[in-house]
Symmetry: C2
Amino acid sequence: MSTQVDIQELAQVAPKGCLPKELVSNTAFLLARVGVAIKLAAADELEKLGCGLYDYGVLATLGEGTQETQAAVADALGLDRSMLVGILDSLEENGLVERKRDPNDRRRHTVSITTKGKRRLVELREVTSEIEQTFLEPLDERTRKQLHEALLRIACAYDPRYVVGAGK
Amino acid sequence: MSTQVDIQELAQVAPKGCLPKELVSNTAFLLARVGVAIKLAAADELEKLGCGLYDYGVLATLGEGTQETQAAVADALGLDRSMLVGILDSLEENGLVERKRDPNDRRRHTVSITTKGKRRLVELREVTSEIEQTFLEPLDERTRKQLHEALLRIACAYDPRYVVGAGK
DNA sequence: TATTGTTATACTCTATAACTATA
DNA sequence: TATAGTTATAGAGTATAACAATA
């Protein structure tokens, strides 16, 4: 039957373990797939160093900011405040972070990065840079910049927390 | 108290809920964030139609390919074969897909998309296109093409299943 | 013995809600 | 009453392993 033939011809064009063209041609699909792959890769690499996925983000936030309150850190990263507790617990256990009660409002904790935490931040920065390099390897410098700018625009459009970072 | 003042001044430079520049300047970080956001948005939209996240992918695979075996579909999409069972169960219950034993190898199931499934595929295609449009809205046509090409290169570099789709 | 599809299990991640201590 | 941090609970999602039928 002719149907059979058509189907087999198609099978040659689209080899067995191959994603449907329809999906691959959808930029949002690619974005989701690549994004999730990067997240998983990052989680793996960070775990090798005994770190959770968000440790780097938290340390980076504390490294740039002033003494922050837990709520401020959570909001900055888009994490629920309850999630931050466990992350800070482990960071504090490892001496990377300090929690102090705010004397002006004893409900609050002032969180700050320690010297040891800053050293760890440098390490994590290197690891995450390597992950970035690995994934961007197939792109030339110019294309990387275009990609970064496009992503930043997309991110800013649905989440204003990205906006300020655009400066540098 | 001066402490109070300092904090408020800083809050203007780096507004409260603002991501650290270090993270925003990392393309891999942006990629992961945007990618996950898209995945979540897609899951939401598809759920409104009573669909799981992978229903579209499975239907699209069946829509393009020949009669496929379950293993082939799973491999094409990068899903575990055990995960596909539940997905196909619900698709079959809704009459979107048919499973038949392969008479030549009775271990195998030949999966095919039904007429109703094809109609549903058209709907899901529209929904996912809308999601794509929403996220890409801040980009002009040229930038969108650059973005797509860059993502495709990245994806191909770590997963050969994307390669063939590059054609169109 | 190896493979296909299936089922069962367990584990990670995260979202939600309840709780405390302060305000 | 409301808020910051904490704790506890529950749910989604998925990875793993065991299983039955067939090769």
